[in-house]
Every structure is written in C-alpha cells, then in structure tokens.
Amino acid sequence: MDTGNTAWLLVCSALVLLMTPGLGLFYGGLARAKNAAATIMHSFMTIGIVGVVWVLWGYSLAFGPDVGGFIGDLSLFGLAGVTSPEDQIFMVFQGMFAIITPALVTGAFAERMKFSAFVIFIVLWVTIVYTPVAHWVWAEGGWLLELGALDFAGGTVVHINSGVAALAAAIIFGRRLGYDREPMEPHNVPMVVLGAALLWFGWFGFNAGSALAADATAVNAFVVTNTAACAGVLGWVAMSWIFGKPSVIGAASGAVAGLVAITPAAGFVGAMPAILIGLVAGVLCFIAPMLLGKLKVDDSLAVWGVHGIGGTWGALATGLFVGVGYGALAEGVDRMTQVMYQLIGIGVTWVWAFVMTAIILFAIKATIGLRVSDAEEQTGLDISQHDEPAYRFTQ
C-alpha cells in the first residue's frame, strides 16, 4: 500500500473525527447556557455510540456484499474479514461520516430531548436511515451509484439526509417552551466560531479525503472546499447585513453553508463555480430558516436550513456545474440527464429521510417519550438530564 495515500487517509479520518466535537461546540454555543453541556453531549455521545455500532454492524450494512442494490448484508459483522489495510482505512474513514451525520440531526431537537430517548434514537437512526443511503450512493451495486447520480463526499448521504431528518424531528418534537416569547440567542459566540473553525478544518479531510488518495482530485477538492467556504461566509454576512448588522454567528454559519454545498461537487467542479456555489449557499441558508420560522416550526439550530437546503442546492449544483473548471460529465450523459439524476437522488433522499425519521420518532414517542418535562426544560437540560451545569464561574 502506498505510504503517501495511507498517511493521507489516516490524517483525513482523524480530521473528520474532529468535526463532530467541533459540531458539538458549534451547536453548544448556539444553545442557551442552561443547555450548553447537554447540547455538546449530544455530539460527543454520538461518537461513542456510532463508533461502536459501526464496527459491529453499521459498516457491514452499508458496505457489505450488496443485497438488491438496497443494503449490505451482515457478513462483515464485527469487521469479520475486514483485515486488509485498504479495507480497514476505508472502514474507519467511512465510520467518521456515519458518526457526524446523526450528530448533525441533534441540532433540530436541541434544548428539549430526553437523554434516554436520544440514545435510542441515534442507534436506530444510524442503522435504519443512514446505512441504506450510504449503500445506495457509495457501495458497489448501490442503485443511485449505478443510476449515475453524483455525490462526491456526501451531499445526499450526509447533508440532505440529516437536514431533512431534522425537519421531521422539528415538526414532531414541537416548539421549545417560550419560543416566540423568550429570547433564545446563542450563549457563546466564540464557542460557535471555534466549532465552525474545527468543522472547516476537518472538512478538508471530509472532501479532499473522499478522493481516497493523495492525488489531483484530492487537491482540487481541497481548493474548491476552501473557496466555497469563504464565499459562503461572504454570502451569509452580506444577507445579515442587509437585514440588520453583519453577524458573527452568520460568518460561522455561512462557512458551514458553503462547505455543505460544495461537498457533493468537490471532485467535479473548479474554483470559479465553487465561488458561486458558496455564495448562493450563504444566501439560501440564511433565508431558509427564516421561512421555517414563519411557519413556526422550531428547528432549534437551523439544521434543515443549512444542511437540508444547502445540501440540496449542492447536489443540484453538482449537476449544473460538473466539468466546469474540473472533472467532466460521464461518457454519453448530457447535462440535462445528469441534472435529472441529481434530482432523483435528492428527491429519494428527502422522502426516505423524512419518512423513516418520522417513523422512528413516533415509535419512541409512543413508548418512552421524546421530550423532557416542562419543569426540566425550564431548568435546562444540563441540570435536569446530566446534573452538570455547563459553567460554574463562582465557586
């Protein structure tokens, strides 16, 4: 095995792992102080849970021998037969994607979910919702791959999937107490920016690592990833400025929006389209949550707006711009057809993520329940769920 590629993929895996605590800080800073620790816990705990689930059955379901183009079988349970370094690297790299995707969803029900319900949700969601989509898009024989839909680093699998799941969750959970009456402003702006910075840093591994080698495609993915992130910052900050004052949270959110949108396109477009993709993402992801707000749907940390809409825009843009500046349309596929393929991928993922997530949540709601009591919610999840206030400055 080539040492350069090995070094590269191991580093990328480490970078993607770092994204999830980064996400925890990003979300934690956006939450109110009384829920800060609990919100971070959602991300951190997801690492622990999915990290184990993945090596036990998750990897096998996603990348085990194909069953009807729909899912893998269980023959790789417990990594049986996953012994070659190549397989192991691919397994652990993919595992990091499986970890962050459910963690992204947690932003939708932040500040009101019962911890026990959360644990069950993560196990079910990654198993039932995530692994099939990962199989469709990336596994040999996966039907979306066969179809010809392009998703370089996870626009559908990771972002649309989590973003739409977040929409379902926001609707099913209902609004936080005091929504539209009390301020629910981010409690720690530096923490939000730090989280966004770690996400950006890790995203190089996420996108450039998806080339699965230290090659020209990795280099291009790296360049467009950074460019789109920068453009996303400009887009969101500009919007916030138009609607009020240039927002710091907006700069951080815009970077994430740009990164989300470039994810499926990173291996297929050059830097100029990347600027456009990022800019538009910054604008769309600023508007989307406001519209959702008008419908009084409480997607606490704007997961649908950023990942659902940003991911959808990115998947579409991949079809629109593939080959511009880098890459090329597949043999004998014209742009219209490609865009069609992209729309199919988008549509199917939307429906799948929404329906399956709803089923899981209703099941949990019917059994142990999803939300904490009103008193617990008012006290804050840090104390009520974990007995650990995030901060104790006077002691």
Partner: protein
C-alpha cells in the same frame, strides 16, 4: 445615612464612578443586573427564524452609602453623568441605612462610611 441605588446603563458605569470619586465619594459597589422598564426592549430574529422581544436588558446597579446631607449631591452627580435623555437611562432609589460597620476596624456609623 442613606443608601443610594442607581440603576444605569452598563456603558455609563465608568463615567459615573469616576465622577463620584472626583466629587469625593470613593466607596461604592457595582452589581450587574438585567432590568425591564418603559424601554420595552428590542426585537431580535433568532438564527432559527423566530422573532422575539427581548424585554430584559443588561443594566448596572451602582450602590453606595452616604451621609444624609450628601445624598442630594450624589444623586445629582449620577444624574448628570448617567443621563442620555433616551428611555432606559434608569432610576435612583434612596433608602435609609441604620448603621454601618467597617469590618477592618469595627468602627460604626458615619465614620465607617
């Protein structure tokens, strides 16, 4: 002796405390509070889209105990320095303090202020 409690804009604390020192009133305490008043607060749009009226605003409470005869002057100094003329300038509350003790020496009464 009187206790003067002035609720003012946080950004005014420095000028107020310096003016008080210049006027010879060194001893005082400042507590950060959140306050609500006629100033009904600002409307914010949260990142997740909801609009909210923030009615509790950050204020600072400056507390000092002074001799009865100094009360008027102290209040005047505070008003002169803390006023902006905009709603939200705050209030001053005056109440009676029966006794003051200096912990260090055990002195009591006015001499302890």
């Amino acid at each position: 002796m009187k206790k003067v409690e002035a609720i003012i804009r946080p950004e005014k604390v420095t000028v107020v405390k310096d003016a008080l020192a210049d006027a010879g009133f060194v001893g005082l305490n400042v507590v950060s509070v959140t306050g609500r008043g006629a100033q009904k607060g600002v409307v914010h749009t949260g990142r997740s889209g909801q609009h909210v009226v923030i009615d509790m605003l950050a204020k600072a409470k400056v507390e000092l105990v002074v001799r009865d005869e100094d009360t008027e002057q102290v209040c005047q100094v505070i008003i002169d320095t803390a006023r902006t003329g905009e709603i939200g300038d705050g209030k001053i509350f005056i109440s009676t303090v029966e006794d003051v003790i200096r912990v260090r020496t055990g002195e009591r009464g006015e001499s302890a202020i």
